[in-house]
């Protein structure tokens, strides 16, 4: 056989991911069918639940916000060929940055500054939590995959201890922190649009969505427009060449992990400053892991990450709707879909490549003959 040609770029960037996504949904559909429900109906319910019902779009975008942050965290690390599974923990401790910033600044500064400082501090805490695995990878050779997993558990233990102990709300039994001061609250979408006299349905969507969009832009600038981003990508693609080019590889690894952690840490602003107004137990709810699926599906590109986040936001919100409409399928379906998407667009990303390549070659050749 002759040498197989690589896929054309559009097929590689759009068609192949789309096929992988379809495969994931197809297998999930089979599972739904096996347990005796109609997959098509389930899909319709999810779509309605995610976009059509009043207020549902707000919920979808609220989830989307979380996934943008964690997706960016995973994608940043991927660009340096690092696998940050620790988004969950980094986001979790990110909340400490907010609690710290509110304690230090809220009494003295006006709201806008407090909010900005909180945002910075949540990123810093997330960054610090990722810095250690990054350092250990760069300088001591311990694999960042394993250490970030361990750091998730450490974060969880730390937060349980803090929320049930030193930080617990006075007079409360359940492990949660005090409410943060009003001037550190991020305005909800309802409030925000209210300022302009626009009426929108109540939902947890808040201004952190805007921060997420800014983060997408920052990520794009960082990776493709800065010299640091160039170095990150160079290290990720070819460490030998990076070394030849005078790039300090271990320094780049540490910086990349730090930035990655900062993105994850920002998740806390959505949950703590926007919705709960306090740190509660397990507020990260697995969003950090979903970030892996988001980054894989979004091909580590901001536009891809945005749409993948939107998809997962819709899945989470629409999945909740399944609980009401069906007896035997629940929002846990989303876990399965997530797993399938990670499987097909991650581990099996190139399974369909040879077949697709063959078909495309035939189709394109056929087209040439017709000319």
């Amino acid at each position: 056989m002759s040498v197989r040609k690589p896929l054309p770029r559009w097929a590689d960037l759009i068609l192949l991911p789309f096929i992988n996504l379809c495969a994931a949904f197809f297998v999930c559909g089979i599972v739904v069918w096996i347990i005796g429900e109609n997959p098509w109906n389930a899909l319709i319910v999810m779509i309605k639940g995610a976009f059509i019902y009043p207020g549902s779009l707000g919920y979808t975008l609220y989830y989307t916000t979380n996934f943008i942050f964690t997706g960016l965290a995973v994608a940043t690390a991927f660009h340096a060929n690092l696998f940050n599974i620790g988004g969950e923990g980094q986001a979790y401790v990110g909340s400490l940055g907010i609690l710290l910033a509110t304690a230090l600044f809220a009494p003295y500064l006006p709201g806008i500054f407090v909010i900005l400082l909180c945002i910075v501090c949540s990123a810093l805490m997330g960054a610090a939590w990722a810095l250690i695995p990054g350092y250990l990878q760069a300088k001591r050779g311990s694999h960042v995959v394993i250490t970030t997993i361990m750091f998730n558990f450490l974060a969880s233990a730390l937060m349980v201890w803090l929320l049930a102990g030193p930080l617990i709300q006075i007079g409360q039994q359940s492990p949660q922190s005090d409410l943060i001061p009003k001037n550190a609250h991020l305005p909800s979408a309802e409030t925000f649009f209210g300022w302009f006299g626009i009426d929108v349905a109540s939902s947890p969507l808040n201004l952190s969505f805007l921060v997420a969009l800014i983060a997408l832009f920052v990520f794009w600038v960082l990776i493709w427009k800065t010299r640091l981003g160039y170095e990150i990508r160079a290290v990720g693609k070819n460490q030998d060449a990076a070394n030849y080019a005078g790039i300090n590889v271990s320094r780049t690894i540490i910086i990349t992990m730090t930035i990655s952690g900062a993105f994850a840490g920002l998740l806390a602003i959505n949950e703590v400053m926007g919705v709960q107004h306090r740190a509660i137990l397990n507020f990260t709810a697995g969003y950090g892991f979903t970030g892996i699926a988001v980054a894989l599906m979004g091909r580590n590109h901001p536009i891809g990450i945005f749409f993948a986040s939107l998809l997962f936001g819709a899945l989470f919100q629409g999945g909740a709707e399944l609980d009401f409409e069906f007896k035997s399928i629940t929002r846990d379906m989303v876990l399965l879909i997530q797993g399938m998407i990670i499987l097909f667009s991650g581990a099996l990303a190139y399974m369909f490549n040879p077949a697709l390549s063959r078909i495309l070659t035939r189709v394109l050749k056929g087209g040439e003959h017709d000319d």
């Binding site: 001591r140 250490t147 730390l158 879909i337 581990a347």
Partner: protein, 322 residues
């Protein structure tokens, strides 16, 4: 003194119960990782094993069929892992993450579909489970002062699966170090090309390693839901797969050492609840979260070369391309 002795005995007894699934999963991890395949999907295999064991035991009333089903389910997960990262040379970590998600999702979805109890399975009666078995001579040995108590409380009175786990450790060690399969398995994790050039199939060898791991994880899952527990509860593996992975690393990818690591982690777990609220001399009260975090902290320190030098299999994580 007697009081303390029995306290200690019970702690060891609890240690053994907690450590049983860890040991089995750690052996699974060792087989997989020694063959060069990163296995963070231990958690998912454990969970699916637990679910299928409880489901089948509940539906058929047979603990043995439950165990068999658990092993099959877990092996299937292993094969999926192999399909992704051996056959298709996919990223082993990504595949592991995917399998953990699939297990979390499928166990609950199927649980609800079959039993309609919000993801739990019905509570099993005692003859649908592996019950504690009393070993021989307990009554006779009871008359001997210390030994008798040790025998009755610690050695006797566990479920069959605990003894299976205990036997699995030397068996794993034997397979790894004394058999042809073990030699080849260790070799393929060090240098797949050396194995290939010795005329042995790398693919089939790695698949077999994963299958063996699947069997171990299946037994561990069955222990969780139809021996230690009496039903399946969502997310009942609760990170034990990851602790087992930590034990694998802590044991430097060797069965006997990993066994001690499991016992140590199990012991930490067992005394955590006992130490809660207890003021120790000098140190004061130890937060239970610190105890929970200790295995991870120790593993990180070990991995970073601060205590000893870990020596993972040389070819781990790399798909084999000719």
């Amino acid at each position: 003194m007697i009081e303390f002795f029995f306290q200690f005995l019970w702690a060891l007894d609890a240690t053994l119960r907690v450590a049983t699934p860890l040991m089995l999963c750690a052996m699974a991890g060792i087989f997989s990782e020694r063959s060069g395949i990163v296995d963070i999907s231990l958690e998912g295999k454990l969970l699916s094993g637990a679910f299928v064991a409880a489901t089948i035991a509940s539906l058929t009333g047979s603990a043995w069929l439950g165990l068999g089903g658990a092993i099959c389910a877990s092996v299937l997960m292993s094969l999926l892992h192999g399909f992704a990262c051996i056959t298709h040379k996919g990223d082993q970590v990504v595949s592991g993450v995917a399998i953990n998600f699939l297990a979390s999702g499928l166990t609950v979805i199927l649980g609800i579909a079959i039993f309609k109890r919000g993801g739990q399975t019905p509570t099993l009666s005692s003859d649908e489970r592996f019950r504690p078995i009393e070993l021989w001579f307990v009554d006779i040995l009871d008359n001997i002062p210390i030994l008798g108590s040790v025998y009755r409380e610690l050695i006797s009175g566990h479920s069959l699966l605990v003894y299976v786990a205990l036997i699995c450790v030397p068996v794993a060690s034997f397979i790894l170090y004394r058999t042809r399969f073990g030699l080849r398995l260790r070799a393929v994790g060090e240098s797949p090309i050396a194995v290939d050039s010795a005329g042995v199939s790398v693919t089939w060898l790695r698949y077999r390693a994963l299958i063996v791991g699947g069997v171990f994880c299946g037994i561990a899952g069955a222990y969780l839901s139809i021996s230690h527990g009496a039903n399946f509860v969502r997310e009942m593996s609760a990170g034990k797969g990851y602790i087992a992975l930590a034990a694998v690393i802590f044991g430097n990818w060797r069965p006997i050492r990993a066994f001690w690591a499991c016992l140590m982690f199990g012991f930490l777990d067992a005394i955590t609840s006992r130490l809660q609220g207890v003021d120790l001399p000098i140190i004061g009260e130890i937060p239970s979260q610190l105890m929970v975090a200790l295995p991870y902290i120790m593993t990180i320190l070990l991995l970073s070369g601060f205590i000893g030098r870990p020596s993972p299999p040389s070819a781990i994580g790399l798909p084999y391309r000719k």
